[in-house]
Amino acid sequence: MIERKRFSVREVFKHICILAVLFFSFFPLYVMFAISFKTNAQFAVNPLGFGLPLHFENWLVGWNIVRDYIFNTIFVAITSVVLTFCFTIPAAYFFARYKAPFSKFLWYFFLVLMLMPGVANLIPLFMIIKSMNLLNSLMALVVLGIAGGQVVQIYILRNFIEEIPKDLFDAAEIDGAGPIKQILTIVLPMSGSIVSTLAILQFIGVWNDFIMPMILIRDDKLLTLAAGLVKLDGEYVKLWGQMMAGYAISSIPLVLIFLFTMRLFVKGLSSGAVKG
């Protein structure tokens, strides 16, 4: 009897601990939502609670502010994620399947970049984008997204493809399937979780990137989200309600994507990605 009781007390204690941590983690979110329905005057009187009347128009204003930012970010993120895979899956397939002259050299050619910090080459990168006439265009961000995703993805995908049974490829080859067909029929169907994990990681990366859009994009309408939000934060007269509504709206797409793909994501993280 005593044993069991101690047991459940301990169990309750664990729950309390987790709930406490959860409380603090959710607090910023709560604050964001609570303030997003308030005017500044309401906020001054009652900063913490939900004050009536709820000002839903804050969300409308917030949406008008961040709409272009969100669409631009989605455009950049998805375009660059899809194109990155067009590059990395064949390359990873090459490294996993063939042992050809120079393949080792090429492998290290990529691996070395893992050590290269992104910060050191910021200015020359700006110059290259300038000479390609891509300043102030979303394509610049897409291209940088593609380039930035190469190394990690090739590394992880190679490990993954190497674990696919060789017989499958050999059988396909006997049927006369070339590399591209093998990638389409064998690699792609099997790599759903790892590909989506990598896709989400890159998506989050683009979603949060702030430095590159800040220096490459001139026009307000072409800014991506993170840079746009920082701009919003620079207002002299801060209408907290509208700002928080804008923040909340910019969180929604990521939350949705995450919820829909969480199963794949958790699985991918626990299998392949960690080893990298």
Binding site: S25, P28, F87, Y98, M116, A147, I154, I211, K238, F258
Partner: protein, 316 residues
Amino acid sequence: MIARIITRKRLVAYWYIYLLVLPSILIVSLFSYAPAISGIYHAFFRWNGDYINDFVGLANFAEAFQDPVLWGGFGLIGILVLFNIFKMIPSVLTAVVINRLKSEKAAYVYKVLFVVPMIIPGMVSLLIWKFFFDSNAGMLNLLLHKTGIMQLLCSVDSFFHWGIFVAGINPIWLGDTNLIIPSLIFWGFPWVGVVGVLIYLAGLQNIDQSIYEAADLDGISSFQKLLRIEFPLIMSQVRINLVMMIIGTLQDYALILVLFGKEAGPNGKAMVPGLYMFINAFVNQRAGYACAIGIIMFAFILILTEINNRLVTVDK
């Protein structure tokens, strides 16, 4: 899968396989190698990013090695890394506690709940935290006042004569030179990162509940369980996260730029090397010097990675 060996002789028939990797090589050469090489090249120039471009030899490096701002920045990074190590503990503990829960359903619910607040975009949470620290409208001062902690701080202050917390004045967390580093350390409380928790949980999943039961029978305390059963299982993940954290802390400056602006707070108190490089390039128009700083940071990262590799192999 065993790789197919293509010898030089068979290359004639198989040349096209290089096309698979060619696009990647091109794009990496153009956007990773070319800037890096150009960065190294320009580190030896007095370059304003535009029309001034004079060779100065090692002058930029000589200046960098004597630059108190730069080394102050590395010092700040050291402090932040030290505290970030402590800030990794909550993630580990949270993962362990969730894993130890008897009820699998509850564990799943918690996992989902933990995911939700942490996938809001990094910039959004950064800006919300900035708002928390705001001296007038911010939540932190409000909570400190409401809970009476502020009074406590004020009396402690008057005892030690810090002159930071004075009754009736809102402390300016991001503006007071004495409070900047504490604010950066407090940043992100309760310091639980979703990716960290999920990775640790994945490692912990291999533990069978029966091991816990056996441990209970042996009368092993919870803390010993943590040391003997759980920690060894997630050791490799912890180490990877540690390295990523250190490199991340060294490289990141978006946080400081957003919080403190290009001056990095009053007296440049929050200046980190990355930001110093950035403002030298795009504010002070000293792109050559900025490239030199970038190379010094690169050297730091290389050394850290090398140390880590040594440690890992020794352990194995």
